[in-house]
Symmetry: C2
Subunit: 108 residues, 2 copies
């Protein structure tokens, strides 16, 4: 990635709420940490690296309106940090590990 574009990634993570959202997704998708959110005790990541119903889950544990959450998801997508797709009623969300790794690369 061109160095001059890194600030866009940092911008996406520079908002407290958005950072929280990203970390919730990241932990569940990649880090296998303790779940930060769950809805009705369903499994969060039936497919490795992919979190389902991400939007719903985030709405469930953050005190923000749906439109605001939607906006934050868009920002994370625009920065290339995540990709999202709707599959029927599900909202599937995937971390772009390449971009995440490039953050580490920049400081090596």
């Amino acid at each position: 990635m061109k160095q001059s574009n890194y600030f866009r990634i940092f911008k996406a993570l520079s908002n407290e709420q958005r950072f929280k959202i990203f970390m919730m997704i990241y932990k569940q998708c990649c880090a296998g940490g303790e779940p930060e959110f769950k809805i009705k005790e369903e499994p969060c990541c039936p497919v490795k690296g992919v979190i389902e119903k991400a939007f719903t889950k985030v709405c469930g544990c953050m005190n923000l309106s749906r439109s605001t959450i939607s906006h934050h998801f868009k920002e994370l997508q625009n920065a290339g940090l995540i990709t999202c797709e709707r599959v029927g009623q599900n909202f599937r969300c995937r971390i772009n590990e390449e971009v995440v790794n490039s953050i580490k690369e920049i400081f090596k």
Copy 2:
């Protein structure tokens, strides 16, 4: 570092100009890369990890006013990314490698 505070680091790096400034300092202090700025061909880092006249140098190669540059340095300091001190007329600037490393830690 508490995870909930990381967004402050990202916020400091979320502005294009500020990110440039930080990378200029980082490269010269830590990465030993090709110098992005120089003034009168002086050595940039006579002491390892410390860049001298950072402010002057940055002013010299960015199209921003002194007050704006000053502001950006403050932001980088507040986020803990750098520390600065005045020694006589010199302005010495040091990267806080601990904080930089903690960025990598968060995504491991």
